[in-house]
């Protein structure tokens, strides 16, 4: 254990409510928002960061309400006092509105990605779906009662729902079930039962579409050197390293080439 690790552990143990941690969390939220807005796939939900920020927002709203109540009290304040109080209130409210805007934009962007590729993410967080699909299809071949909503996988409550938050998981399941039921009642019910599934992969082509990981993003390299990688695929089994980026450089690269470096915090998305 070297001195950096000791310092890091001291940093971590520091009180959650220190002003420094507020600054750092604000910067992390801002960076995460920019990345979420720029990247085609859903990024892993930063649960502990969002919990801390939501807690702070709640406290700040209470603080503002207390201040506003005291400014409404005519006996306790003189004129000059009132002017400063109003200034303070307007600063606090602007700051709150800016943070709320960040959170709102972040959540809406995530919902938009989720609904666009809802089946993809549902399959991603339901690890035991393949087996259940098998039993379902064997049952349905007997009963001939296959409905579109049967193909919607049910996320396991206990399972790891990354990259979705628990709330997003329940939302996306309800959303997809409603959608499947709607499809079923409006047109899929007139199809033969074997064509009613929403995750059909007949002919080797899956009808479930996921986000495109090869899309280009703008990144800034934050450490000495980061290589753009080519993930395994197309028969090549090992990861290959392409161009190298130096510290402070801004590059246009494929998202899949820097995803690992982003997870380690070595690059930032612009």
């Amino acid at each position: 254990m070297d001195i950096d690790d000791i310092l890091a552990s001291v940093d971590r143990d520091a009180n959650i409510q220190t002003p420094e941690s507020a600054t750092l969390d604000h910067q992390l939220l801002t960076r995460f928002w920019v990345a979420e807005r720029a990247v085609s796939e859903l990024l892993p939900w930063p649960a502990s960061l969002m919990d801390r920020i939501m807690e702070r927002v709640r406290r700040q709203i209470e603080a503002i309400e207390d201040l506003a109540a005291s400014s409404g009290d005519p006996t306790a304040s003189t004129n000059t006092n009132n002017a400063t109080l109003n200034l303070k209130l307007s600063i606090l409210q602007t700051d709150l509105a800016r943070t709320q805007y960040l959170i709102r934009s972040l959540l809406r962007q995530r919902l938009s990605k989720l609904t666009k590729h809802s089946m993809h993410y549902l399959l991603l967080i339901s690890p035991n779906h393949n087996t259940s699909q098998h039993t379902q299809s064997s049952q349905s071949s007997q009963t001939q009662q296959q409905q579109p909503e049967d193909s919607v996988p049910t996320p396991d409550d206990m399972a790891n729902t990354s990259p979705l938050s628990p709330q997003e998981t329940s939302f996306i399941h309800a959303h997809q079930t409603l959608l499947a039921r709607h499809y079923g009642s409006s047109f899929l019910s007139t199809f033969p039962p074997q064509l009613r599934r929403l995750d059909d992969n007949a002919g080797g082509t899956s009808m479930v579409q996921g986000p495109e990981g090869k899309e280009a993003v703008f990144v800034r390299c934050l450490v000495d050197e980061v290589g753009v990688v080519v993930p395994p695929g197309d028969g090549v089994e090992e990861e290959m390293v392409g161009t190298g980026m130096r510290m402070g450089d801004v590059w246009v690269v494929r998202w899949e080439g820097v995803r690992g470096a982003w997870e380690r915090g070595e690059v930032e998305i612009l």
Binding site: T23, L24, A38, I91, F218, V223, G242, V252, E266
Partner: protein
Amino acid sequence: MAFPLPRGITPPEIAFLAEMEQVNIVPRQRLEGLELLGGPVEPLLPPRRATLPLWLALLLKRQRRANIVPPSWLHPEALSLILEIETQHSDYQNAFSPPPPLPGQPSVRDRETQQTPVAMPRSTQDGERYYASPPFLPQNVARDYIPPGEPPSLPYHWLEVGNVLLDAASDDLVDPDQTRRLLKELREVRMAKFRAGTDVLDAAAIGGGGVALTGVGAMEIGEGRGFVTGVVDGLRKIGASKEQARREQMAEDMANGGYGATQEDDDEMEF
């Protein structure tokens, strides 16, 4: 429709981000320190300088409660030097002038003497490493001491900060008309470079490749984002079958030649 905006932050959102940059002000009235969600704000004690986020500085400026100290780079002298680097310097004919160094990165001058950068991470509460970057670096503060020989550089949010200060605080700037003219010239020179760079976008369409835009500004990315990502993704789709064939050929070579042969290939590519 959960969210109507296109992917990648749009110009209004970039301007929003630029308002998080730190600037110096000279307050005209006292105000106690505040605990904001974006971090604490130091108490204002005239005539002592304070460092605040730009949005707060603008709020105080509009109510005539403070004067903004212009950033070191937003000065006709510094701007004409940068313009000279952009247009005359032979190293930067096809590239943007170098950005301000990140913490731990040697300045442009020291890079020639082979100083290696040492990134300085902070630790987040979740135990991850965090490297600070704009808009959370003091790139827009007024610096009292500039080491001799260090050339001025444009910060990441130069266009937004420059314009917003010209709009809201032109009486605090040195020679605002000249500043405005220089900013416009810089913008034109750099946009021309950005457009000329579209020729090499092929490189970003290949796996493992990329195009360097070091020194680019946030708003310049915002303006070019739709075009650049559109061209790169289009080229990728056109070249997809070729790339797949190349990868399969590579896989075949690796299977035939074994591990030793790939090693040799790698060496050749490096030298």
